[in-house]
Amino acid sequence: MSIIRALLAGFLSVALVGMSGAAQADSLDSIMKSKVIKIAVPQDFAPFGSAGTDLKPQGLDIDMANLIAKELGVKAEIVAVTSANRIPYLQTKKVDLVISSLGKNPEREKVIDFSNAYAPFFSGVFGVKDVAVTKAEDLASKTIGATRGAIEEQEITKLAPSSATIKRYEDNNATISAFVSGQVDLIATGNVIAASVSTKNPARPAALKFLIKNSPCYVGMNKEEPALMAKVNAIIAKAKSDGELNKLSEKWLKNPLPAGF
């Protein structure tokens, strides 16, 4: 009796394992079958993702998500996430992709995979159009504003020539005020801040002069999804070559893609 029981238990467990193995379908297959792709986007980080005045999500990442869904020929289900839960949502398969101004670092690379970059996220020196600066050396005898303690401020302190004057303000708002009011013509800040300046103050936009540090945005997906990765990278490459990525950058970040993107 016990031998039959043991054999039955063994047979059932093998069958179960076998069934679960068969159910391990490729993500891309299940997306194409269900005609829906679930994509996580930010809801609290303009201009990548935030609630518009009609409380619908809008931003660069939402546009990117819709672009990928369109190219795949499926419907996009937009799932709003935060910086803290976006990777867990991906790992627990609540979403298929994470498009949330996601940066690549070694800790994250252990648990998820990254596509090629689709949007720039960088710090640089920005300024008014008629100031001729293309590299750090051009900052000689010029005044640059920066937020004290920020990564751009520390980098520009190292990069700027000794004759340059760096004005350090206590927070991003003061740095922005200094630029907008005309107290400084150049600021060292992140491209998101510069985009916010150009959007809210179109009379005096902040154009990129040169890059300090680059940490672009990638699409995140689960490991071992080669088909999905290949498709997403192909879509990104196509969008780059036909100018769609540049259009997104111009629309939301008020600056074209930086050279060499």
Binding site: G145, R148, G149, E153, K167, R168, Y169, E170, A174, S177, A178, S181, G182, Q183
Partner: protein, 220 residues
């Protein structure tokens, strides 16, 4: 949880700190002298001047005394450029402090002037002194002698309030402290040291003001 004090981490930045102290001292010195002058002029205008001038001074005083100093400073530095007046942060800091001290000292000195007995003024006039001579030799010396403690306190308040100019990137002592803290991350040591320096500056300023008061503004 033990915290290991590391005051040595400030040593590499002694120059930044030194220049910050110099800036604060010079800023306070110059804006005190000009601010008291503005206050004296305002108080005299309000008590002895024509009605329209007195009204204008009153508006100025009420405006400045009822708004925060940092708001006044930000208005001068960030707001005025919109009207075409772009000032450097040092000029803006100096201007804001003069305007601020001017308003408060106007009221303080006016209290002193009104406390001078009318008989003294009449005595001066009867001796054929001009109104200006009466003001200068009889009224002001007594007035300032009477309110000297209040005036000293206001000067110290403005000196300590000058810490706010670090917000517009004027390189005073607080700016130096913030800068050092953003490099060595030792907020406890940095702000303890800068607080002590402000304390020493305040004690020193009060001692200096006492000496000046005894020399020039003692009425026996």
């Amino acid at each position: 949880m033990t915290y290991h004090l590391q005051f040595g981490s400030l040593l590499p930045y002694w120059e930044v700190l030194a220049w910050g102290i110099v800036f604060t001292v010079v800023l306070t010195l110059v804006s005190t002298v000009v601010g008291i002058a503005v206050g004296t002029a305002g108080a005299s205008a309000r008590t002895f001047g024509p009605a329209w001038l007195g009204a204008a001074v009153r508006v100025y005083v009420e405006l400045i005394r009822n708004t925060p100093f940092i708001v006044q400073l930000f208005f001068i530095f960030f707001g005025l450029p919109a009207l075409g007046l772009r000032l450097s942060e040092t000029t803006a800091a100096f201007l804001a402090m003069v305007i601020n001290l001017g308003a408060y000292s106007t009221e303080i000195i006016r209290a002193g002037i009104e406390a001078v007995p009318k008989g003294h003024i009449e005595a001066g006039v009867s001796l054929a002194m001009s109104r200006f001579e009466v003001l200068r030799y009889i009224v002001l010396r007594q007035a300032i002698a009477k309110i000297y403690p209040a005036l000293s306190s206001q000067i110290i308040i403005v000196m300590l309030g000058s810490a706010v100019v670090s917000q517009i990137s004027a390189q005073d002592l607080t700016y130096a402290a913030n800068f050092i803290q953003s490099r060595n991350f030792r907020a406890f040591e940095v702000y303890l040291v800068s607080a002590l320096i402000y304390l020493l500056l305040a004690i020193g300023t009060r001692a200096l003001l006492r000496v000046i008061g005894q020399r020039f503004f003692t009425v026996t």
